[in-house]
Amino acid sequence: MSDPSSINGGSVVAMVGKDCVAIGCDMRLGMQALTVSNDFPKIFQFNNAFLGLTGLATDVITLSEVFRYKVNLYNLREERKIEPETFANLVSSTLYEKRFGPYFVGPIVAGINSKSGDPYICGFDLIGCINFAKDFVVGGTSSDQLFGMCESLWEPNLEPDDLFETISQALLNAQDRDALSGWGAIVYVITKDKVVKRLLKTRQD
């Protein structure tokens, strides 16, 4: 069996802007060379934290359901919404629980703290090591391409509309150079008062 993190394919990226964050993903689900679906989004919302999950599709689905369960219980017990920083630590512990039989995923978290208004993004490896970043985080089969695109396109303090253009170009051009990512893209731009979800028009190959 091949490397579990590159059987199904997929990419995610998140960036920080001026009082805003953006997170984007591709829409492909494949079985190595064969594309099975072009409607497989990899971003899930939990209160005001957004989770992007790439890697083995079965673990992406399982983890999205596990976190839905954990966040629902958090809401019932704490009687409040979970903040992105707290959710990130929840992701980290959940992944480390499976240290010697891990979920084959590359998660990223993005959100805005509802109390302080500070944007927050971070990435993780498959066993939950938190990679906190002040600029951007990437994940998936086109992570190398995404690193290159983000490093050159990103600049600090981008307004929401400019951040949208920047993250979209980073995602689009990176996924076009990756055989296992693509077939559509979704970008969420998150500000303190609203979330805008846009479907990008991309190459369908």
């Binding site: 099975v36 679906s37 409607d39 497989f40 599709a57 689905i61 039989g101």
Partner: protein, 192 residues
């Protein structure tokens, strides 16, 4: 090299499964039914490791039927899919995982829409307008990409299915003894 195909039309799902049951160099039977009706409006078509397939399909069928008896209600196709997926996900990291690929075809009586879901042995799931498992996918998905549209009639869907079967007959190196076609619509599951 079993063939299972599915496609949705405006009011129904058409599922085709090959009829050859092969072990080694022998064809055991030419009328093998690779499906199980798990609920009045849901069909599970399966392919994969010998034994695992029927065992898993009948396990799903038994549990779904029990749920129907206990709760006097039919589970929707998406709910059945969630159950199937979670059982496969549980099995994946067990001592010996089920190696079964599945297509779930159903008619959701609540939303009044046909439903088709592709689930593989790793418990990946994707709801799709048309689907196939195994080698058949390499030949038929491109035909389906070209000819399938949203909200086609049952007759148009059957024509596309015939095109797919003809292509498989031309290009697959083995005789799969034709396909059995099942249609699932608001009136339930029927063989065509």
């Amino acid at each position: 090299m079993d063939v299972i195909l599915g496609l949705t039309t405006k009011d129904a799902v058409i599922v085709a499964t090959s009829m050859a049951a092969v072990r080694g160099v022998s064809i055991l039977k030419a009328d093998d039914d690779k499906t199980r009706v798990v609920a009045p409006h849901t069909l599970v078509a399966y392919t994969g490791e010998a034994g695992d397939t029927v065992q898993f399909a009948e396990y799903v069928q038994a549990n779904i039927q029990l749920h129907g008896m206990r709760n006097e209600t039919e589970l929707s196709p998406p709910a059945i899919t969630s159950f199937v997926r979670s059982e496969l996900a549980k099995s994946l990291r067990s001592r010996k995982p089920y190696q079964v690929n599945i297509l779930i075809g159903g008619y959701d009586t609540a939303t009044e829409k046909p439903y088709l879901c592709w689930v593989d042995y790793l418990a990946s799931r994707a709801q799709v307008p048309y689907a196939a498992h195994g080698y058949a996918a390499y030949y038929t998905l491109s035909l389906l990409d070209r000819w399938h549209k949203k909200d086609i009639s049952l007759e148009e869907g059957m024509k596309i299915m015939e095109m797919c079967v003809a292509e498989l007959r031309t290009r697959l190196p083995i005789d799969f003894k034709g396909v059995q076609i099942k249609v699932i619509d608001r009136d339930g599951v029927r063989t065509v």
